[in-house]
Symmetry: D2
Subunit: 289 residues, 4 copies
């Protein structure tokens, strides 16, 4: 599934569960001579809702790129009351990274990006501090320093939005960016901002979760990647990871052990997003194979 | 997906991957007015092979129980060169447990069985020792003592086979049964004998794996449930589990920690088998959702 | 460390961290000709507090059982401002189980108890429902039915306390007992009531945590064993465990997967308590090797 | 334990288990006015062997740096038949990295090194290919290209040894270096070469372990960091990690998932080695807290 030599079409969809829905979708592809390379579906019995991701080769398909969307819309999506997204594998999304002072998530993302594991472009890295400028430049990426204070937050966020727009950024990754984005900012990138929170959500929302975990005396710590919504650390969870700890682990050791979980969990989430394997419904995610 | 009030039809199948295969199968169900309650498929790109499990409600389906098999065979299975199995959810399989002296897997299976988690009948428990007779009788199950020695193995296995046949046993679970079954015995229950091996296979095949793990100084131990074939500990793996250990763990502690993994992993495998969620292909398993 | 043929002395202690504390304690044992079989210590740098568990053979020790306590008190504990507990390995603690309707934790504890893994006596099992009476009787243990309602709670807890006293119960295990014990009840067994909560605390305190976990869309669920205090699900954590889940897991499946974590985590906690390997300090635990 | 402002003395030792050994060692430190900041010991009952790591502040200690070794040797090590090592926290070890074409372990180590997590110097990176030269130079570290073929291996290893000696290298990390070092090379750095093997040892020794894991159909993959000995993948294990997989994971996906385990496990091992927390005995390791 990893090596598609030809371009593929990816559709993610959800709709009310209904008889014959899989038959209908797969028949649409089959009749148009499409060769499916990946298919994953899920039915939520409680919500009576159907979710699916299907990917097929464009090569040999009897519809052109331009024809697929209207054809699918009319023959499937409208009659099935479907919400859906169409992508082509060669549309490489543009990702902006927001960082602060800690380098571990940044390095992990940049190294994977450079190794070809994360198929996105990174036009720029934004930071409210200058600490990581050298790291970013090492990788030949533009570094934009936008310091944020309580006083200048509104105007600085406006500036950020302008720069993001200018670079046609598709989605944002908060790689241990220590600022809370305003609700207004978030509305510009709905379901398109990914954060890593350094706790096993919903435990320890907000600041200093490792201190809180240590104080509570937990025996396992975690990290959570999620889409950002206006509710602090309350958005749809993409992935989580954990690490077993003991009474020997001071707060400093929790922070250090936590870094390993954070970077892996964030990178997995970014990869799932870039590979168009995520779908959000009612503040929860479906993560396709 | 856990609570089907009406009976369901379950088909597991695999065939050469081919265009339109999902459309063809789901259309068969749709045209006959079937309501799919579970569908999971997998395509192995390297093997160019398609695997699927689909479950739909019998209630309202336009074919009778008797008509389904020939209809599916002719319209789908033969043209698609498919290998497949048909089950109905109300066919409760009969499971025989083989035990020896250790009680942890036996208790775990019997407790789950009694709690309704494992939907099978247990007509009997076979053992080469009498140690667990009381445990078995506590649960109101028939206990059959068949001692095995190097000398009497051939005739005792014959006796076992007779008793199994007499009780219409569908499959066998070796719940820490310390005997190796003969190749001949295994041929009577192909893909229908489940074993738990107390190591992370393929590491530490054979006897005394915890001693071997301790001697090798591993930092993680494991357990493996697998279908039994004529190759010792070499059959298709159903599930595995692990536990982190340290230099503090003596062989005795490994054995103790291992018991917790063994029983969970074996019970998960038995449940997957009973729920008809396993499929074997070329000594590997597909485990459906 | 598992097979002590002779009786051992176990001391657990904590005191302000101070120079020479390990030398002082080990020298006390050495001078009295004690053979240490286990020693584990921990220093909490933030709290400037020292914790230790040491176990040595009584056989050959130059002090008698009766002499140890006053000798240690005067030569070590008082000068070091220590809090400490003395136990002998042959003091088998008496454990009461409180259950309700679910059998998985009960079975797991009883099976381990019977297998010799949990070295405690179980004089009785208390339940507010009769569902598990048969299970308990199967194991030859006394079952006491004490139904609890909002109206009769005060008097029924009084009755429970009387029965516990009558049977010289040392500690209580709430094996999925669905009642909240009153603060008054808890004061009778300080640091001696162990609960299993079916979530990854401090996430999802209180009722129906699996429903809450499902609604929040977490990707990992957990269970937590802890000592009960007057704060609901807020006592010192002994152990935690987790299981990875996905969008395929309905609430029913979470409940089922959760049972496997609950029983393992509760049994590990009970074993640690029985083996005198736990120590509480400021609402956190030290769990010795 | 992470923030020692003053220099510390670290002794790691093992000797036959004997009465009073802890008292003897801690008393030596106490009498010389040492303030212990970390102590961890372990007794292997089967081997009747005692292991210990103790760390105390040099500041205030009544012996000078030069006096410690002979004093400890005469009063403790010789009478106790001890093997031991002395280090001072300010001796920063020199680490050479050997790499080939894959960058993930290299990046992870360099990023941690730069973040101060791995307290070592990296005088050079050696590689048999030029692929990672840019990565290494990005971090301002010397890159030495020493291509290896079957024909030139003996002379090239000689060259490597000369360069290592020239740079006073203390230990070597094979960060996915795809060459097998000769037995002769290994003898120059006994217990001082750390490798990462991309399997859950002892399963899948040798080349292409992910292909072998896929062929065997395992449900969990792993990685193992170990000290290199003359036996291929047979040296003392420092750490292991695992990741759960399914039938959906092709060999390519195993390789990708494996990278995350490899880098974390290797970095943890390197950190344990640099922090002087490892001890080898009979081809197994003790990893201190």
């Amino acid at each position: 599934m990893e090596k598609h030599h030809s371009e593929t079409v990816i559709i993610r969809m959800h709709c009310p569960d209904q008889r014959g829905i899989v038959a209908r979708i797969t028949d649409f592809i089959y009749r148009n001579n499409g060769n499916i390379v990946a298919l994953d579906q899920h039915t939520d019995r409680d919500e009576k809702r159907f979710f699916m991701r299907v990917e097929w080769e464009l090569d040999g398909f009897s519809l052109t790129k331009e024809q697929i969307s209207p054809a699918f819309e009319h023959s499937i999506a409208i009659p099935c009351k479907m919400k859906w997204k169409l992508n082509f594998s060669e549309q490489i999304p543009k990702m902006a990274l927001f960082v602060s002072k800690m380098s571990h998530c940044l390095y992990d993302l940049l190294a994977r990006h450079q190794g070809g594991e994360i198929k996105a472009e990174i036009p720029l890295v934004v930071s409210n501090h200058k600490d990581l400028e050298d790291v970013v430049k090492k990788f030949g990426i533009k570094f934009v320093h936008i310091p944020i204070t309580a006083e200048n937050k509104v105007e600085q966020e406006k500036k950020e939005l302008e720069i993001l727009k200018e670079h046609n950024v598709d989605f944002i990754v908060l790689a241990r960016y220590m600022q809370v984005l305003s609700a207004d900012f978030v509305t510009h990138y709905p379901e398109r901002i990914i954060n890593i929170h350094h706790s096993f959500l919903p435990a320890f929302v907000g600041a200093k979760p490792y201190h809180a975990a240590h104080a509570r005396g937990v025996k396992i710590i975690g990290a959570t990647s999620h889409y950002v919504t206006s509710e602090l650390d309350g958005g749809p969870i993409i992935d989580q990871g954990i690490s077993r700890i003991s009474h020997h682990d001071s707060v400093d050791r929790l922070i250090q052990k936590g870094r390993d979980i954070e970077k892996i969990v964030l990178s997995r989430a970014v990869k799932a997003h870039v590979d168009r394997k995520t779908l959000i419904y009612k503040n929860r995610t479906v993560i396709f194979n």
